[in-house]
Amino acid sequence: MYKIIVLAKQVPDTRNVGKDAMKADGTVNRAALPAIFNPEDLNALELALLIKDRYPGTTIVLLTMGPVRAAEILREGLYRGADAGFLLTDKAFAGSDTLATSYALSCAIRKIGLPDIILAGRQAIDGDTAQVGPQVAEKLGIPQITYAEDILSVDNRTVRVKRRLERGFELVESVLPVLVTAHSTAPECRPRNARRLMQFKRATTLSERHHSADDYLAAQTHSTEPVLTEWCAKDVNSDLLQLGLGGSPTKVRQVENIVFQAKESKVLSAADDDIEWLIQELISQHTIG
């Protein structure tokens, strides 16, 4: 049996972006957007669940950093088979770039205890940077295997992983502990389990219990069985100077809405005459033919 931590991120659904998406300081206005479980983090969760299937007794802990509402994806993970969830939330984290984020996550991982395997999605759809996984591994001083398509085997000391590269693949073996990032070609995450949904739908974080006047009993139940834990910057012994905007080496200098330099387009209909005219035009210009 193995101890696994899965890093997950709640991301704005960038397919449905509105006008209020950005704040004046150039950071993302998450409140204005629908939020989802980052797709490749679900692939990472599935790779963890497959290990748990093979080695009963394996525990899977989900770790996320974000606003209070990010607890939604922790519950989503519980429904699908994770054992516990940790939410890192603090104003001090606001505006963190990838380096400050990976620092905060690495502090939380040390606090939970370094597991055998850390899994994370290759990248999040709101930034596509693919940086946080490798940076967390570096901060923890452990090896990394990026772009995992499959975890072929795990034994007491090593893990074998199939990596998807731009043009081809690699089979690699690493010692444990290791951080593995999941590629979108890794197995799709299993759906919610109905029994687990009933079991965990009332699992809440401290802030959620404070913010809602939810029934007293639910809070009671979870104070004896805390599946979801909420931590602030101080709880994970992090250095405030390395967090948030101040702890981020990269600064957003400027954001611009892009205005295309419109060309004078010639609009054609789908009528035979128009299409034949265009083809003749292209041939006479030697663009085709």
Binding site: V17, M22, T129, K139, E170, L171, K251, D274
Partner: protein, 339 residues
């Protein structure tokens, strides 16, 4: 010290194109900054690369030739690169946004505590004012990239930390030889000085690199399909047109994500950048990330149901209607009219 350094990727016996493209960009940045251009190659069996790399205007070429550095694994390359950068103190480090660069870049940036911007579509030199701290910075690297679903373009700077790091996809920058006879100063790096036993804990058991059969980047006509194509079957129409007129087929990210086309056909910020003489956009709406990969096309035809699709603004010709009945007639009229 304080130079521009390009990490040159060595794979299957040669330096990757993206590295030459970055050397060309690095040369122009170094000229603007009045500093030198450095190239770093890590690998094994690297003899005879000096001339090929030098001609892009490289001043100093660092080569670490060591069996433990090939094939690429994360930790040994990180150890040698960071060890060297601590001594040479480059102000800018550029890498390809490839499988290797996107694995190595963040590891180096974390180790050196420096900022890294992924998938830049442009790099410039400029000033920055930190109003809160009341500080002004000159000659920073502007790392420019579309962000956030392609709705905006962000300019990122790293005011205080060095090196300023950026990754760039293949094809975004243009490679240009400065002089065939240019000679870089060759500096041999002893990898053993930086490598430790614990850097060798990841082993490659098997490796299969296929050379790409698709040559989108160099195709003079590109027919690209978007989400509006509607299905993988409908993409066959694009292949039929491509076959008829001698083109290559590309796709938008939305089409790739929907499973209509393979990832290696993706055009845009996180895919391939193309500069064809004709670009036929089929059912593509035209998010910034996609535009970033095709905006240098000499001529654009947009076939779209939606008269308000943003890509139409870039198009020389807009055909309004359904692909299913337009493309077969394009093929028919091409065959009828071509000599």
């Amino acid at each position: 010290m304080n130079n521009v350094c390009v990490y040159c990727e060595f794979e299957e016996g040669s330096i990757q194109d993206v590295s030459f493209e970055l050397l060309t960009k690095g040369r122009s940045l170094a000229n603007q900054l009045g500093c030198k251009l450095e190239a770093l190659v890590l690998g094994s069996g690297l003899d005879g690369l000096e001339k090929e790399i030098s001609r892009y205007g490289v001043d100093m070429l660092y080569i670490a030739d060591d069996k433990r550095l090939y094939p690429y694994t994360t930790l040994p390359h990180t150890a040698v690169a960071t060890g060297l950068f601590r001594e040479t103190q480059p102000q800018i480090v550029l890498m390809g946004a490839t499988s290797i660069g996107r694995d190595l870049g963040p590891r180096i940036s974390s180790s050196l505590g420096s900022g890294l911007t992924a998938d830049c579509t442009n790099l410039e030199i400029g000033e920055y004012e930190d109003k809160k701290a009341g500080k002004r910075y000159d000659n920073l690297l502007y790392q420019i990239r579309p962000a956030f679903g392609g709705n905006i373009v962000a300019t990122i700077v790293n005011p205080d930390n060095r090196p300023q790091m950026a990754t760039v996809r293949e094809g975004v920058m243009k490679k240009e030889i400065v002089s065939e006879t240019h000679q870089a100063e060759l500096i041999r790096v002893d990898a053993g000085k930086y490598l430790r036993e614990e850097d060798l804990v990841v082993r490659i058991l098997e490796r299969q690199i296929e050379s790409s059969k698709i040559n989108l980047k160099n195709s003079s006509i590109v027919i690209a399909g978007g989400y509006g194509v509607g299905s993988r079957e409908n993409f066959n129409l694009l292949f039929e047109l491509a076959h008829a007129i001698g083109a290559e087929v590309g796709a938008s990210r939305a089409a790739v994500d929907a499973g209509y086309a393979d990832k290696e056909r993706q055009i845009g910020q996180t895919g391939i950048t193309v500069r064809p003489k004709l670009y036929i956009a089929c059912g593509i709406s035209g998010q910034i990330q996609h535009i970033a990969g095709m905006q240098d096309a000499a001529m654009v035809i947009s076939i779209n149901n939606d008269p308000a699709a943003p890509i139409n603004k870039l198009a020389d010709y807009v055909i309004q209607g359904n692909l299913e009945n337009i493309i077969p007639r394009m093929i028919r009229y091409y065959r009828k009219n071509v000599k």
